[in-house]
Subunit: 186 residues, 2 copies
């Protein structure tokens, strides 16, 4: 196999797609994030990177709180809409029906099968264009029909993924189980 | 729609699967990471979270360098193997054929269709069990046959995803294009 050095590209791995929500004094706003990850489990921390100049950034910092909403496949157009226009000149407060949990600073999207309230724990200033936000998931909400034994079931939620060629894709077929497939090499 | 508050769960969104490589004085080691993201594009930064106690963690910090290797679907068993055993008591240096680019501290996996050399730019100490590593991608390598117009082509690379129910899944069918599907709401 011969490898060549190529121009550095962001076409690397698929990413999850989520909708982040914040609430200003007057209204909720939602934006699409396609690079987000869990950074640890105890406590459950979620991490994403955000342009400093985005409309929602100072609101999130002020509130120390935001919502994480998992869109299902059938929400792809509305979710994409939230990734096109900025809250600076687009009112996205009526795109979805909104409800609230205990922390009323996190606007939760009714149409999304899973919602989480996230409380900001750490902000990393990248000394350039971005902040990295690290937050603890403190509340979670779901429709009963997407649960299996009390936990969200991916087959029912139908979250989707994003690749950096501007493409949204479904989750595909199961090809293996973690901590099992590799045992053949033990 | 009626939502209920549920027990906090990591069953949220699908994650990418990559193999991270480091090189000690004596040999390379590889471990599986299923939560990783690009945190910005200029320069291209990659970010992941790592247990402080992992075998590779002090090596990565000492070298200020690691490799990022994208496994394809057909590597699922070998990649999973790298997620089972620790480098402390498992020699994973011969699981793959290894080559090197310009920075010889990043062991690159020949079998993986895309490889990147990552140079550590920032370490965030989470004051607990984890560090967060933020690194710049400084070199990238690929087989000619997975490129389309010089860029990696997801359809040819066939990266796969991980869901927190311990399941590996293929990328599925295309359901839309970013910055396009949402225009119907404009």
């Amino acid at each position: 196999m011969i490898k060549q050095k190529i121009t550095i590209s962001s076409n690397l791995f698929p990413s999850p797609v989520v909708l982040i929500g914040v609430k200003s004094e007057t209204k909720p706003n939602f934006f699409l994030v396609a690079d987000i990850m869990l950074s640890q489990y105890k406590p459950l921390l979620v991490l994403f990177s955000c342009y400093k100049k985005h409309y929602s950034t100072p609101i999130l910092i002020e509130n120390k709180c935001f919502s994480l909403n998992i869109p299902s496949e059938d929400m792809v157009a509305k979710a994409d809409y939230c990734g096109i226009g900025s809250g600076k000149n687009t009112d996205k407060s009526n795109v979805f029906s909104v409800f609230y949990g205990e922390n009323i600073k996190a606007p939760l999207i009714e149409e999304a099968p899973i919602n989480a309230v996230c409380e900001l724990r750490k902000t990393v200033d990248m000394n350039g264009t971005h902040y990295i936000f690290i937050a603890e998931i403190t509340e979670m909400y779901a429709e009963d029909e997407i649960l299996t034994k009390g936990r969200p079931d991916y087959q029912k939620v139908k979250p989707y993924i994003y690749t950096k060629d501007n493409t949204y894709r479904q989750m595909g077929s199961i090809i293996g189980k973690a901590y099992k497939e590799g045992k053949v090499y033990k």
